[in-house]
């Protein structure tokens, strides 16, 4: 084997070892069973509904989700079994797909240095690490948008064949049907491709438009069914989102390190300055692609903030995450072009940022559920299927409780009708101190038997820990 071939094989091994290592790091965060509200929603929508039921549930909930990701999750769980580890692994697979993209296409187009930086940042940067182990669709939308971006760049540089258009359309449809706000990312990518193709061959530019329109049709049909713009339902928009741009950078870069947001934003700024001021280190259209990848996230923030205000949908920083993979690709390309020392500093930065982000995620996954074991033991040993569970945390947190008490019947304290519960085994989870009202108690006697200990699931603002009572509901003797 020649020297060159040996070197190539070693680099090959190194890249794939890095992918494996980052994947294993993510998997180490998948062993706890603490759910946040969004994850409980994912589980509830998937577990409690058939495939058709998922469609109806999403229509009824009027959220920013679309059924495809839930259907895929349902299939995944059906194959690999019903356990929270399997649910989390589905999210890890999304990030793994992005890393494989890095080890293959990104490496082929931009080289090993870019691929290494890209693989580490898409798996271990704060927001992406959290979403890699969070049971939501974002790790997959990051992959779809990044794959589409790489494909668009690659296609724009060569003779375009039919299978490329089909793949582009497929990635577009799949992404759109995982989350609404991917639409804005696709808009920029298609615009880039359209301009490039138009300058090369005006006639072929209609293929870009045709591909986009064909991919958009099923999405538009869905928007009409969903009444996204309130064409049928009417109603007033709630006003422009209060999320600020700095919250986006906070979401993307914040770790436990002081000034982490400032440092991350600094690296982002260096990347933009690099592509602008060191333009000669890039090919012309490569420069435009990198610039687009970098500014897509803040641009989309502006567009999404407005759209969500007129379409009556909430908007959180997580909704710009779809383009984060492309942003990191842009940063990786620039940092690997400045000079060797800048690249090494960039590598050190993403490595230490990743370590800090892991520390934070480890705390969130494993140190916010101190009473989980005893709570699950109590449920398993004392509560029977069909038991009534009254809870007084926020109504929406019934979804979280539902995961752990899936065989019991949950009732919020505000909706208790003692007449219906008399004679049945009833438990009370007291998280807030709010008890039954005088109106509810009229004519009834309640005996509380406190179960010793503190219980709870994941620690969160309004759904922290609770005391457990066994209730004995008696109608007083006349």
């Amino acid at each position: 084997m020649g020297q060159k071939e040996k070197k190539f094989r070693l680099q090959d091994f190194g890249i794939w070892f890095l992918v494996l290592l980052c994947t294993l790091v993510l998997i180490t965060l998948c062993f706890d069973e603490g759910l946040d509200y969004d994850e409980a929603y994912s589980w509830h929508t998937t577990y409690r509904n058939s495939f058709a039921g998922v469609w109806q549930a999403i229509l009824d909930d009027h959220d920013t989700d679309i059924p495809l990701w839930y259907w895929c999750l349902k299939v995944w769980v059906a194959i690999f079994g019903e356990s929270w580890f399997v649910y989390k692994l589905f999210s890890v697979m999304g990030t793994l797909a992005t890393m494989i993209l890095g080890a293959t296409a990104v490496r082929r187009i931009w080289g090993n240095k870019t691929a290494v930086l890209f693989i580490i940042s898409v798996s271990l940067s704060p927001a992406l690490l959290h979403n890699s182990v969070n049971v939501r669709m974002y790790s997959w939308t990051v992959f779809l948008i990044t794959a589409c971006g790489v494909l668009v760049y690659w296609m724009s540089d060569r003779t375009r064949k039919l299978w490329m258009w089909i793949l582009l359309g497929f990635l577009t449809v799949v992404g759109l049907f995982c989350h609404y706000f991917t639409a804005f990312c696709y808009l920029f990518l298609y615009l880039f491709l359209l301009i490039r193709v138009f300058l090369q061959n005006k006639k072929e530019s209609c293929k870009v438009i045709a591909c986009g329109v064909i991919a958009l049709i099923p999405f538009l049909i869905w928007l009409i069914i969903f009444d996204f713009f309130h064409l049928v339902g009417g109603g007033a928009a709630p006003g422009v989102s209060k999320t600020e741009l700095k919250e986006i950078f906070q979401y993307l870069f914040e770790t436990e390190v002081e000034y982490s947001v400032l440092l991350g934003t600094g690296v982002f700024a260096v990347a933009i300055a690099g592509v602008v001021l060191l333009g000669k280190k890039f090919e012309k259209w490569e420069k435009y692609f990198v610039l687009m990848s970098l500014v897509m996230t803040p641009l989309i923030f502006g567009v999404m903030g407005y759209v969500s205000s007129v379409s009556y949908h909430f908007f959180t920083p997580r909704h710009v995450l779809h383009s984060a993979g492309l942003m990191w690709l842009g940063i990786a390309i620039v940092l690997s072009r400045i000079n060797v020392m800048s690249y090494l500093c960039g590598l050190l930065f993403v490595g230490s940022m990743g370590a800090s982000a892991y520390e934070k995620s480890y705390h969130v996954e494993y140190e916010t559920t101190p009473y989980m074991a005893e709570t699950k033991a109590l449920i398993a040993e004392r509560m029977e299927p069909g038991d009534i569970i009254i809870f007084n945390a926020e109504t929406s947190f019934g979804l979280v409780y539902d995961y752990y008490l899936r065989e019991q019947q949950l009732v919020h304290v505000s909706q208790v009708n003692l007449e219906e519960l008399a004679g049945k085994p009833v438990w009370f989870l007291d998280a807030t101190g709010k008890h039954l009202s005088e109106e509810q108690l009229k004519g009834w006697e309640l005996a509380y038997e406190q179960i010793d200990g503190i219980y709870g699931f994941r620690q969160s603002d309004n759904n922290t820990f609770f005391q457990v009572y066994k209730l004995d509901i008696k109608e007083p003797k006349e």
Binding site: E256, V257, E258, Y259, S260, L263, G266, V267, V270, A273, G274, L277, L278, K280, L335, I338, N339, M341, S342, L344, C345, G346, L348, F349, G351, S352, M353, A355, S356, E359
Partner: protein, 219 residues
């Protein structure tokens, strides 16, 4: 790297300075406030003019940014006069000295005294002395607690006019500690990235200038 010009050397110098300021020189530090549990407190007897309240403490870090104590008095009456505050080491050498007016102090509330990054020797015992310089009316009292503090190890004896007070001294210290390992790495890498990036910008500018001097076309 190629031979660098003065500006490039300056940038690299500033970059290295910044890194050293983070670590090991540790000019840049992070604040760490000692938290206190809310507890039942007592107050000392009155402090007539000339009285001295002394509290010993262990330096938990080598930089003290500020400390706070609680002075009790009748807010309905005027608070006129001056306090003197001093920090001394174990050899009774004064290393910090200041005055503050009585009227600035809020009754039974933590009152902050800035020490402006006072350098101490970590682990050594120091003490601060609060002296009533010229307050003759509405005499102050110092609050303290009889219960042990959560991190009571840092709190030592307290005395009022050389009489030891039974209980745990009560003050909040704001230390400045060096950054941890990951913070240092992130800051170093960012400074390095910024420095080498600017170096490269100057390098490109230098090459362009050289080409222009050689009369190249299409610079």
């Amino acid at each position: 790297m190629k031979k660098s010009n003065l500006w490039q050397k300056l940038i690299l110098f500033l970059m290295v300075l910044g890194m050293l300021a983070v670590w090991p020189v540790c000019i840049l530090r992070t604040e760490e406030k000692q938290t206190m549990e809310h507890d039942v407190y007592e107050v000392t007897g009155e402090m007539p003019q000339g009285s001295v309240f002394t509290q010993y403490f262990r330096a938990e870090e080598s930089v003290l940014n500020a400390f706070e104590l609680v002075i009790d008095y009748d807010p309905a009456l005027p608070a006129e006069g001056i306090f003197q505050i001093a920090i001394l080491n174990d050899k009774n050498e004064m290393i910090y000295d200041g005055l503050f007016p009585y009227y600035l102090v809020k009754d039974y509330t933590f009152f902050r005294l800035e020490t402006y990054n006072l350098r101490l020797k970590k682990g050594d015992i120091y003490h601060y002395r609060l002296t009533n310089q010229d307050i003759t009316e509405n005499l102050p009292h110092i609050a303290y607690t009889r219960k042990s503090q959560p991190d009571g190890e840092g709190y030592q004896r307290m005395l009022l006019n050389d009489t030891e007070i039974e209980g745990e001294a009560f003050a909040r210290f704001e230390w400045k500690r060096p950054y941890d390992f990951l913070s240092i790495l992130m800051m170093w890498s960012c400074l390095g990235l910024g420095g080498f990036f600017l170096w490269e910008i100057l390098e490109q500018w230098k090459n362009r200038t050289n080409r222009m001097k050689k009369g190249e076309k299409n610079v």
